[in-house]
């Protein structure tokens, strides 16, 4: 049985990288004494899948991890036990049972939304509202992307699904799929450059708000949070 676990990441643990978060949960699952399914062999490991990796320094309200279990008390019990076994900065907000047909967390990711704030004294020296309107009016936003293979040009525009100001911050929803993933810093950097400014990544305080998958079952394609796929009890699936 597959479970999808939604968690938040705040405070000092934002400095824990993605691979270490995976290691954290391997141990947390054991401390919580969940009946997790293991692979065989000399070094058995837990069957786990994480949605989109979160960069070091970013906080989140919408992280996801899938695990496979052999048995289940209840979703609430799993949530409570994991919270008891965990550190304060990592909170489990929901546990859902996934239908057998559901793809794993990593493969399901299509988009992610972010709130971007500016550190005190690092606010942009231009009218953000205006700049975003102009920014989005372009058909293409070419940026240079450095990869292991070299430098290439990519277009950001088609991967920006939503971008607007919201009080003193910017709300951003972008492509987070494995083939078109966009980092929020890339978008803000392009916005700055278009306004003749350079961006120090450190100016930004970024929180990922939610991670989405595509729901193609209805009449029109919709973004839905990853945990909308699951249900609260195994019976609901049958």
């Amino acid at each position: 049985m597959k479970l999808r676990i939604k968690f938040t990441k705040h405070g000092p643990v934002k400095f824990i990288g993605h691979l270490d978060i995976m290691r954290y949960f391997q141990k947390a699952n054991r401390r919580a004494q969940l009946d997790v399914k293991y692979t065989g062999g000399y070094s058995p490991h837990q069957v786990m899948s994480f949605a989109a990796p979160l960069g070091v320094g970013l906080e989140s309200n919408g992280e996801y991890m899938d695990i496979e279990v052999n048995s289940l008390t209840s979703c609430e019990d799993v949530r409570d036990r994991l919270n008891k076994a965990g550190v304060p900065g990592i909170r489990i907000v929901s546990v859902k049972v996934l239908p057998e047909s559901a793809g794993n967390a990593m493969a399901s990711v299509a988009a992610a939304s972010y709130t971007i704030r500016f550190r005190e004294g690092c606010e942009p020296p231009f009218d953000v509202d205006c700049a975003i309107k102009k920014f989005l009016s372009q058909e293409q936003i070419p940026v240079i992307k450095e990869t292991k293979k070299g430098v290439r040009e990519v277009d950001l525009r088609k991967g920006i699904y939503e971008m607007r100001t919201c009080e003193n911050s910017i709300y951003l929803m972008v492509d987070a799929s494995s083939c078109g993933n966009i980092k929020p810093q890339q978008v803000i950097r392009a916005l700055y450059e278009q306004n003749g400014c350079s961006l120090d990544d450190f100016s930004l305080l970024i929180t990922r708000e939610e991670t989405y998958t595509v729901d193609a079952t209805g009449e029109k394609t919709e973004w839905i949070p990853l945990d909308f796929v699951g249900t609260d009890t195994p019976e609901d699936i049958e």
Binding site: V13, D20, P44
Partner: protein, 630 residues
Amino acid sequence: MSQLALSDEILLKVEKPARYIGNEVNAQIKQKSEVDVRFAMCFPDVYEIGMSHLGIQILYDMFNSMEGVWCERVYSPWLDLDAIMREEKIPLFALESQDPIKNFDWLGITLQYEMCYTNILQILDLAQIPLLSADRGDDFTYPIVIGGGPCSYNPEPIADFFDLFYIGEGETRYEELINLYRQCRDAHLSRREFLRRAAKVPGIYAPSFYEVRYHPDGTIASFEPTEEGIPATIVKEIERNVTDTYYPMKPVVPYIKVTQDRVVLEIQRGCIRGCRFCQAGQLYRPVRERDVETLKKYALEMLKSTGQEEITLSSLSSSDYSKLPELIDYLMEECQKQHVNISLPSLRIDAFSLDVMSKVQDVKKSSLTFAPEAGSQRLRNVINKGLTEEAILQGSTLAFLGGWTRVKLYFMLGLPTETPEDIRGIAELCNKIAATFFEVVPKDQRVNGKVQIVASTSFFVPKPFTPFQWASQCTKEEFLEKAYFTRNAISEQLNQKSIKYNWHEADASVLEGVLARGDRRLSEVLLKVYQKGCFYDAWSEYYKHDVWMQTIKECGLSVEFYTHRERSLDEILPWDFIDCGVSKAYLKREWEKAKQEQISENCKLKCQGCGAARFGTGICREHFQADGEE
């Protein structure tokens, strides 16, 4: 915890920021209003190394179990953060509270290897605590800086930087020491008066109350307390009952991968073997086993509280633990149920260990390890290493038949009395093991068709409180010559293609030798090399050999004096004021027997009268009881 000591800007700039944020599972947080003694426990190396050390975990658990005491951890900031902290004058902080160390009551530093000595100065410097004990004033403004661990058995090279040293096992005297501190502080006595009283607590050495005089040739003329009532000899402290004492049931679980990333079960303390080069084998006498039922309970409890996916056993010689089969059978059964890996320590290779290894490891991927330490039986007798060629070849035969094809061998070069013949023995032994493989494994059953023998040599550094404490250490040139000789001897072997040879760098072994048997005059050298930018000497990429050699000269001292010179038996050695449990008479006997190529039986077979029996515990007590029954 509310606030980190380092800003986001810094944490985003440095490598592995998780080293500095604390907040790990099982880290101990206490209310500041409920504690009156703050203790910072330091391992002066990077987080991943320090977090792997069992001793600190035991003491961390012990201190935090004391009412009113909050013990926190601190490690050496890596070079990137070190530079930022100096630049921005950020005081070194403890991980749990993120508060500056300089405001603590105590700074305890564990001394696990000589090459970390400059990192002690880095810690003090970043903490903004005066480097020299003498500069710390006469009140309790600065923490009391105390050292402990194996290197405190010759604390003299670092004596000037410490207020106190704790000689021996930490479980016994800290509570008394902390209470004494409380009394003196609360009665507004002077720092000096506290140190004076502390110097009278058993096991505690306060270097500022002792004076060393030297002969013109540099050897020690006298080593004496400067005041009446300060003990002339410090007897090591020992935990007599290792079962009924502190053990961390909730070890801290690091976020990042550390060197020893698993539950560690210390099954016994001490070793029965008496290898003559081994310092730990003398320091931790007598061997004391932990009760097997207690260990089983500890294992389950720690796995549960940490969620670790691997467990290992710790001791100097696990094969000698009397209940090993019972313990391993139990762990194998429990661990399989819980999907926990067992990482086996180096066991003596025999039918039992091979059977266990085949159950918990992938035979095709794992390798066997032997530590003959010397290439010939003659030299193995000199060092009292009881491993015979016959046992190695028998173990190899069993292993090859069981499917293993990789063998690792550890040797030392530069052992006392070593001849070219002994070194050639290393090559010949490797060759014989390879030949055994081709002999016992039929061609069609050979995995990958070949056998892989990896021989590694380290350079022998004589250590205090071993029978070799008087011996001459080889020079760098001699070391390298021996390594080349070994390489050539291996290349002359019939099966040379199956043998790979690695050797250590010689530079660091020279310095290790200086510091290991050094005296108080080396404190000045340490201070100077540190001021010239030396630290992280244990990391070969940062070790600046030339700066060290130059500075030793500048201070009017010589490497030759500390390393190459053979000491006479009546010389006062810098560590003679410490009584580590084994007597000097015994060490002399062993040194004589070594020169005569005579072995000494292990403690289980026959008591060698080393002197540790006076502690009335462990194997000595078993002997005593057995004798009584006769």
